[in-house]
Each structure stands twice: as C-alpha cells, then as structure tokens.
Symmetry: C2
Subunit: 214 residues, 2 copies
DNA sequence: TAACTTAATGACCAACGAGTCATTAAGTTA
DNA sequence: TAACTTAATGACTCGTTGGTCATTAAGTTA
C-alpha cells in the first residue's frame, strides 16, 4: 500500500477503543497467538510502542477485548423479560430480536468464535465469559421456558438441557460466520436461519392438546 | 516427572499414527500456533527430530490430522440411509446414533472445534473439511428431510436452512466439550442433550393434521 | 561378528515477535 | 516564543520455536 501513513496525532481519549477494535478484528480472524501486535497497531493506525502505553501486554489487550464485549445487552434483555406480559414464545422471539440487533450485527458477534477458540488457553477468562454472558443468557431463556411450561403454553421438558439445545443454533450462527463461512461456496441467510429455528421451536415446544387429555 | 524416558526403539510402522494422535490432542487443546512441536513429540514419546522423518513440517502434520479425521463414518451413514425403509425420523435418529458412536465418543470429536478455530488461517483445509465432512453430512440430512416431506411425515420447510438448524446443536455439543466445558461449573449430559434435541425435532418437524386440512 | 542400513536424537541456528526505551514530535503552559 | 509535558515512535534486545543435521544407536545382512 503506497499511502503515506497518517502523521502522528495525539488521541489519548480515543486510542483505547481504537486499539480494542483493531485487536478484536484480528484476534477473531487469527486467534490470540497467531495475531502479531505489530499488525494490531498498524490496523489501529499507530506504532507498536503506542499499544504498550494503553495495555500492559498482549494478554491484557486480549482480556480487555473480551471484557468490553460484555455489553449491557444482557441487562437490556433482563429488563425486557421483566416487563413482558404476553406469551412466553413471544418473549423468546423478542429476546432473540434484541440480541440479533445489538450483538448479531456488530463486531462483538465475533466474540463467541474467539472465546470458543481460546477457552482452553485462557480458562479464567472463559469462566468470566461463561458466568457473565452465557449463564445470564441461559437464566433468561430458562425462566422464559419455565414460565411457558407453568402456563401450559409449553410442554414439560428438562429446562437446563433444553436451554442448551435452544441456544446452540444461535451461537453456531455467529461462530460459523467468523470461521467456516470463509471457505464454503454458499452461505446461510441468517434471518431465514433464525426464523426456521424459531419456527421449529414454536411447534416443537408446544404442549399439544392430546397430551392435555392424557 | 522423574520417570526415565523410554529407550530409543524403532517403530516405523506405528510412528505416524502415534504422532497424529499426539498432535490431534494438542492442536485441539491449544490451537495450531500455540502448540509446540517439542510437546507433540514428547507426547508421542519421541524426540523432535523424529517428527521431521514422517512429516515435512508443522503445517503438513496439521493437515494430516484433519484429513485423517475424515474417516469412513460418512460413507457408513450413506449406506445406512440407502438401506432405510421405515420413517424418516427413525432414519435421522439412526444417523445420529451412528455418528455419536463412531465420532462423538472418539478423539476425532475434537476436530470440529479445531477446524472452527483455525479455518481462517487454513482456508484450503477448511474448504476440504467443508466439502468432505460437512457437506456430505448435510446432503444426507437433506435427503432425509425431503423424504419425510414428500411422504407427509414432515411439514414442508426450506430444506437447506433447516439442515443447518438441525446440525448446529450436534456440532456445538462437540465444540463446547473441547472448549468452554473446561471453565464452567456444570456440564450438559450429552445423551440427554441429543435426546431433547431429537424430541423437539420430532414434534417441531411434524406435519400436523390441521395443516393437512387447510 | 563386522559391516552396513536406517530410525532416532537433541544441540544448534536462524527467524520471529513480545516487550523496551531513547528519541521525536504534538500539544500545553508560563 | 521558550520551556515543559506527554503521546507516539520504531530500532533494538532477548527469549522462543520451527526446522536442520552430525551423531548415535537399533536392527539387518553377509
């Protein structure tokens, strides 16, 4: 690239998030170890030394990337659930819509792939992610399932396991997007995929009338 | 570890697969770049130089790990499908059982996690894996879905997308096992998980009688 | 049993990349 | 405007690791 690099410019307030954005992109693409800090710095438009003004080391940068991804979407969904009054399935759909808008269509959507790839190398961080993202989402989905079962809208099922089966296609949609999608001829339409997932669940979770009669 | 290392012993016939087994284990755990060849050699009970007698370089070893994982289970499932005469849902269950026995409970179960983690770094290999594992499996599931829709057993749905929704929880079961399971308090029982997945599908895919009347 | 072949070894070298720091340049203050 | 502060720089150091190869040892052949 023959462009003249941007001249030095102080941007103390913006640098941390610019560096995080560059780091998120490259860590998601290549993984922690295969990402070079010189590339992260270049992507953020600075030199490698600048990185060390804001982050102590490579691992500190990595942790900041994951921790910043824990954005208030979880709390938002918790608030949505607290207010909800109509059917439990409507609530599931509303939670999914909100998640898709706020995470599914942003750079943070790459974090599941990154976390899955690096969990064994950073177990404490994986635990942090599990407790603050995965488990809070699971709790929301779980309480919605129980609510539907209690009202007779859903058939009785083991909730803890059903949560995992229900969440799996959603996480996989993101993981696949930042991973295997690079290397296959055709790709799934995410909206249609989520629609079919919910469609199967709408009927698959339903308490059928024959069951009521038994 | 204070054990005296095994004395040198020639094992020309067994070495390649011993090295592959060691490499599979460490690549799945740490990822390609973070895995040191000295550790792979040590795990196989040899010195690092021995590795280079059988594999040209680190990348060649990695590719052999993925390629060896394409085991004849796909062909086996294709044969099972060709012979099947009862319900399409029974066939889906049979295919899943066979996959679980032959892959889900072996070391090869780690390959989806490894492939997902490294696809962007090894796009040709990801394409190979997609075409030889993922897409052949998708074709089997797809023909089974069409078979069920044609007979009236399943309701009409977009097959290509339904395949992905159906396969996602199965792949996720393996990915999660070799990734996030290290770092969360409790874990899903795989048999129950797959049972609930199939249970939701049994009812979720079904063509209901009301639909027939419309 | 000596001569030979070949599987295995691990010290070594070169390349790489995380992290450092003396220097430079942007911006602020007096 | 000079003096000062501080954000940015990139050459450099040092440790790590992929890959090599002279040497060793296991096994075979004559």
């Amino acid at each position: 690239m023959s462009a003249i690099p941007a001249p030095r410019k102080r941007r103390k307030e913006d640098r941390p998030s610019e560096l995080l954005g560059a780091a998120l992109h490259l860590f998601v693409e290549k993984g922690f170890t295969a990402t070079r800090l010189e590339d992260v710095a270049a992507k953020a438009g600075v030199s490698k030394g600048t990185l060390y003004l804001y982050y102590e080391n490579k691992e500190a940068l990595f942790k900041a990337v994951i921790q910043e991804g824990v954005i208030p979407i979880i709390a938002e969904n918790e608030a949505i659930a607290a207010k909800h009054t109509s059917s439990s399935f409507d609530l599931l759909e509303k939670l999914l819509d909100n998640w898709w808008t706020k995470i599914g269509q942003t750079a943070f959507a790459g974090i599941p792939k990154l976390m899955v790839a690096e969990a064994r190398n950073f177990p404490e961080l994986a635990t942090f992610y599990y407790e603050n993202v995965i488990n809070r989402s699971r709790a929301l989905v779980g309480s919605t399932l129980r609510r539907g079962m209690n009202s007779g809208e859903f058939r009785p099922m083991d909730v803890e396991t059903t949560i995992d089966v229900l969440i799996a296609p959603i996480l996989m949609l993101l993981i696949w997007r930042f991973s295997m999608n690079c290397c296959q001829g055709s790709q799934t339409d995410p909206q249609q995929y989520l629609q079919i997932h919910m469609d199967i669940l709408r009927q698959g979770l339903r308490r059928l009338e024959k069951e009521s009669q038994v």
